[in-house]
Symmetry: C2
Subunit: 344 residues, 2 copies
């Protein structure tokens, strides 16, 4: 899922996302709450309408940004007090408030308010953090069930409804992960995410946490690993049975000139591409690789032209979405021939 | 003609320019000479190939930027010594060198190297500047005729050829303008531009200079007014018989949040648009007005999102190109019914 932090997948117009085959994008609750404000978005009919994206949307709970962008946050059992990174104003997020904001935004999928446990976290710290996440999951779900009918498009699309996913935390402690997964499944969320990964831990640990947690989550509901990853990672996790992933990497790397290609990573700023008339990725048939050369993309970067971010992002998104398409195709054909080697 | 300073119409992908119906765009010789360099572009087959624009291109002579971006330039009869605004390195442009660079870039239309007379300029200063421009026009043309076969795509598109336009200067002195136009027409350029306008003079003076000069330029060759203008200006000049105009205004204004609409200028940053769900211009059917609201465009601006420049630019270019389309249609139907009120 491409990440559309502030209601836009940075530098890429919505019609281009459609052409690329993006079926769902993310919005960040923290950013949209601060600007333009969730009440404004509610009054305008919700995030779909506001950004003109008549496809699936997911909002995070705001928790991750509250924790990562705020050094002076204050956490209590009730919630988190933090200061806006925009103007320093003071705000208080509780699970109930996060859910209210997400209902106002009206994405198809909302996320429970959690504490993303930092890395490294020793066992007492991870336990304490998990206690909070599980209490907040319960409160998020109760509040969501009581208020989900307030979603701004309720009357317009009767029959469809907003969903709420729970988030498994537990640091890098497999038994805590297991405990959390079991408790969340008992609560019966619409889907489940594995959070608190890709926070600085070695990749083997990421893999271990996913491998331990995934089998505990129901196969008939979406299973989502948050905030990953590199192309080979997302392919690996998808093959393990992960249904959804999000990451700013393809678009953020693109804006810094890093392209993901079938031949590996390519830093388009390198001088060696100054007169390279080949496409960014010879094996890619995206609209950028079909039309522009490495030399041109390098020039745009060197010249500080905004089009650089757009074209690089389009290619990287095409590359990421292409991986997922291939994984889906291979799972589909594996299941057709009765081969159960791959988990679906 | 949208302006593509550094080989890109800022923030707008080439396929979008095609969708908008742009038939010709500009490149700036000064910028492309400094980065990535005209020899690199020549080796890659010329500017069309380099930027992937298989349509018409025009390059200016570099003179305007040499004069406007360089406070320490030194002008002699031979040419202009200036320092790069990028790294301070010293460069020397003569008419011959400007033509060599433009042949290497290989745009369909190149421009004679001229001195853009500043405003205000008293008569002695305007006369001296004009003397230079006319001498340089002769040298530009002679050098162009001797070297035009060196255009990088010569062998690929046999039959088509690069054109060279002369530029009428003369400050705000109608007799100098007249004198210059007559001399240039004697030299027999492929087309003629009126330069040195929109340099700070009142608009009545711009209009007077165009009105005085235009009738002296052959009607069967393109007549181009450089560096204009606002929507009502370009409509007015087109109706007077001007065939070509270029201006950074639609794209530069767009990046600053100024939209041109059928209802006048609209500063999308204004708070009054915070929840305005109407299209930027209700009378416009461009891809931006069909999809996005004023509230969303304002949000993108407020949030400092790059997509803001892209969407605003697309609308403004659509608005400008729409004006020209309407003028052409009205001239075509006027000429069909034998009405010679409008000059074609």
């Amino acid at each position: 899922m491409p990440v559309g932090t502030q209601g836009t997948v940075k530098t890429v117009p919505q019609d281009t996302l459609e052409t690329l085959g993006a079926e769902i994008i993310l919005g960040n609750t923290y950013h949209l709450y601060l600007r333009p404000g969730h009440e404004a978005i509610r009054r305008m009919g919700g995030l779909h309408k506001f950004i003109s994206w008549p496809h699936a949307l997911l909002t995070d709970s705001g928790g991750f940004q509250v924790f990562s962008l705020n050094e002076l946050r204050k956490v209590t059992d009730d919630g988190v007090r933090f200061r806006s990174h925009l103007d320093g104003s003071s705000h208080f997020f509780t699970p109930e408030h996060s859910i209210d904001v997400q209902i106002a935004l009206g994405a198809d999928i909302a996320m429970a308010f959690d504490e993303c446990t930092e890395y490294p976290a020793d066992r007492p710290r991870a336990e304490e953090s998990l206690r909070l996440t599980m209490a907040w999951a319960r409160r998020s779900l109760d509040h969501f069930r009581a208020h989900r009918h307030e979603v701004p498009w309720q009357q317009e699309f009767e029959g469809s409804a907003q969903s709420l996913f729970g988030i498994v935390q537990g640091g890098m402690h497999t038994d805590l992960r297991r405990q959390c997964a079991e408790r969340l499944v008992e609560m019966d969320f619409d889907g489940y995410a594995i959070g608190g990964l890709s926070v600085g831990e070695p990749r083997e640990l990421t893999l271990e946490m996913i491998a331990e947690t995934l089998p505990l989550l129901p196969k008939d509901k979406p299973r989502y690993v948050m905030g990953v990853g590199y192309p080979d990672e997302i392919e690996q996790y998808a093959c393990m049975g992960v249904d959804m992933m999000d990451c700013v990497l393809p678009t953020r790397a693109a804006r810094h000139g890093l392209l993901f290609t079938s031949e590996g990573r390519l830093n388009i700023k390198n001088k060696q591409y100054a007169e390279d008339q080949g496409p960014p990725d010879p094996a890619c048939d995206c609209m950028v690789c079909c039309r522009y050369s490495r030399a041109y993309l390098r020039h745009l970067m060197q010249a500080g032209e905004a089009l650089s971010g757009t074209l690089n992002s389009i290619h990287n998104l095409a590359f990421y979405l292409g991986i997922m398409r291939r994984v889906r195709d291979s799972l589909a054909s594996a299941s057709t021939v009765g081969n159960s080697g791959a988990q679906i």
